[in-house]
């Protein structure tokens, strides 16, 4: 029973940790670095597989 509790605790810890990492990365990339594309009216609409990579995000 104790082992099960420890496993559960570890699982949720890592889950929360990776979610937090993802949020942090998104915050830095989008809010801080503003690393996203704003399409203009004369640009074609992108398809799902198109993607824009800012050099600083690599």
């Amino acid at each position: 029973m104790k082992r099960q509790k420890i496993k559960n605790a570890l699982f949720y810890f890592f889950l929360v940790f990776f979610v937090f990492l993802s949020i942090s990365a998104t915050y830095v990339n989008i809010i801080v670095k503003k690393n996203f594309k704003q399409f203009t009216a004369d640009e074609n609409e992108p398809r799902a597989l198109d993607f824009y990579i800012h050099p600083s995000s690599i």
């Binding site: 099960q4 496993k7 559960n8 699982f11 889950l15 990776f18 979610v19 990492l21 993802s22 949020i23 990365a25 998104t26 915050y27 830095v28 990339n29 989008i30 809010i31 503003k34 996203f36 594309k37 704003q38 399409f39 203009t40 009216a41 640009e43 609409e45 992108p46 799902a48 597989l49 198109d50 993607f51 824009y52 990579i53 995000s57």
Partner: protein, 554 residues
């Protein structure tokens, strides 16, 4: 970077903006309030239950999703839109995963999901968490303010995973329904599984309106899955105590009304009515809480009374069973003892009478004592048997009309010689205008009279025992009074005289023999024949007075 491409005004709390239609707020805020209310209510009612915590987490993820979606509608700032659009993707998938977890718990009798299965489901999040911050998730902002952003491959992946999770909910529901044994658990699963499925179907279908580019407005109706979910969950709580919590339909009605009233504060452009609505919300909330408490207390008391009543019923049934077993035992034991006693008395009498040849004179006394002791023992056993029959309701009475006046006189004649042996005078007198017929069992009546007269003879050392028969024509009663000049009884003794195994305190001074059952049996038999026996005495040493009453026929 264009700071405000749509040229919208600023927002309050990130979500309130004049550029957002009222319908958007209506479809978002109402489900948000309902979901948080439901989640908190269930969590507070029983926080120890895992299912309650998982439901709460699901409702929180839903609430976060709604809030983020409102930001996307209202915010004019590009980076804010892209940021929350990126994050809404993992939040949405987390909501789906916790909903699947909830259904799993109900389908497996509240047993937790194993770590390996949790890990497999969590691995579905990996592409989303890895690429949330990249353009694989949100490609970029559209110049069309209504479209908002272009969704990348990661979001398309999320839609695909959501369909799989929807199928997982259906799978767990069906599998659990077939596997669970208890009817209540099956019903709980049915409601939780169905409500979760409907909730997620609304969401998934709404997402596919985006996928097929039907426009953003149809997507908003996906949020109405939440009120349906809340309704079905509430019903399962009321009917089947799902989430191991109890709620009253009153509480659900009050909560629903309160939410609707509260939502009026947010949506309606009635600034003049806002203070009134606000006060109504507060007062209604307060009264609702009080009403709910009172009802709950009453229900708890009723449940307690029902529980006690059930306990009493069971205890009573057990006692009756034990009493029956005791009576049966006494009956069986008494029958087993009677046969050997009959043999002892018979052979003792035959030896005394010389049937086996003449015996020395000195054997007379021992044989007499054997005979008397066996006779006494037989009498005691007869008393035990009578008690057993009376208590088990097996005592048979053959009621018929007979002349009690004559019977009493015969019994006195029979016992007169025995009275003289102990130096007592047994006399009979009557004062009757009727014939003296009663409707009773003649054998039992003779037994009662023998018992009463023998008692008087036993407890009278000197003097007289008088049997007096008289009637009350108007009351239609015949009385047989046995009056003696014996040891008498105190008031305390009279009160307990007719109880089982009770003898007068002064009885042992004159007569050590007796089971204390004779008067109990006599009175029970008299009562069974619509009669009564009463005892009277002026006190110790003042004699006793027993009255047998039976219904007079003619």
């Amino acid at each position: 970077m264009i700071d405000n491409p749509c040229e919208w005004g600023s927002t309050a709390l990130l979500i309130f903006s004049d550029n957002v239609g009222k319908l958007i707020y209506y479809t978002h805020v109402l489900p948000l309030v309902i979901s948080l209310f439901l989640g908190f209510q269930i969590l507070i009612s029983n926080p120890k239950e895992l299912a309650n915590r998982v439901l709460f987490v699901t409702t929180v993820f839903f609430a976060i999703w709604v809030y983020f979606n409102l930001i996307l509608w209202a915010s004019p700032t590009p980076e804010v839109v892209v940021f929350f659009w990126s994050l809404i993707v993992p939040v949405e998938l987390l909501m789906y995963l916790s909903a699947v977890y909830l259904v799993y718990l109900f389908s497996h009798g509240q047993v937790d999901m194993p770590i390996w299965l949790k890990t497999i489901f969590s691995l579905l999040l990996v592409p989303i968490l890895l690429f949330a911050h990249t353009s694989l998730n949100v490609i970029g902002l559209s110049p069309d303010c209504d479209t908002g952003a272009f969704e990348g491959i990661v979001i398309k992946y999320m839609y695909f995973v959501e369909v799989l999770l929807l199928l997982a909910v259906a799978f767990f529901t069906i599998q659990g329904y077939r596997r669970l044994n208890k009817k209540t658990e099956k019903r709980q699963l049915l409601y939780i599984g169905l409500s979760t499925f409907i909730f997620l179907v609304f969401f998934t279908v709404g997402n596919f309106t985006l996928f097929f580019e039907l426009g953003p407005f149809y997507e908003q109706y996906k949020l109405f899955g939440m009120p349906l979910f809340a309704g079905l969950v509430s019903y399962s709580i009321i009917k089947y105590r799902a989430f191991h919590t109890k709620t009253l339909i009153t509480e659900v009605l009050i909560s629903t009304l309160w939410i609707l009233m509260f939502s009026m504060l947010l949506f309606r452009d009635m600034s003049y009515a806002r203070p009134i609505i606000f006060i109504t919300v507060i007062v209604f909330g307060f009264i609702g809480i009080m009403l709910s408490r009172v009802l709950r207390r009453e229900l708890e008391q009723k449940a307690e009374i029902e529980r006690l009543a059930l306990g009493l019923e069971r205890a009573n049934a057990r006692l009756q069973e034990l009493d029956k077993q005791k009576s049966e035992f006494v009956s069986i034991a008494s029958h087993q003892l009677r046969s050997p006693l009959t043999a002892i008395r018979g052979y003792a009498a035959m030896l005394r009478d010389g049937s086996y040849g003449s015996l020395p004179d000195k054997t007379n006394e021992p044989l007499d004592r054997i005979h008397e002791s066996a006779k006494l023992m037989a009498s005691s056993i007869e008393d035990f048997l009578s008690v057993s029959r009376i208590e088990s309701g097996n005592m048979k009475y053959e009621l018929a009309d007979f002349n009690l006046r004559e019977q009493a006189e015969h019994i006195v004649d029979d016992l007169r010689a025995e009275a003289l042996k102990v130096g007592l005078v047994l006399s009979y007198k009557s004062d009757m205008s009727s014939q003296g017929f009663v409707h009773a069992d003649i054998g039992k009546t003779q037994q009662i009279l023998h018992n009463l007269i023998n008692n008087s003879l036993k407890y009278t050392q000197k003097g007289t025992v008088t049997v007096f028969v008289h009637e009350d024509i108007q009351m239609k009663k015949l009385y047989v009074e046995i009056i003696d000049t014996g040891i008498g009884m105190s008031k305390e003794t009279i009160d307990t005289l007719f109880a089982k195994f009770t003898r007068a305190k002064n009885a042992n001074s004159v007569n050590i023999k007796g089971t204390g059952l004779g008067l109990f049996v006599a009175r029970e038999m008299a009562r069974a024949m619509a009669g009564e026996i009463t005892a009277h005495s002026a006190g110790d040493g003042q004699g006793s007075h027993f009255i047998l009453t039976l219904p007079l026929v003619r």
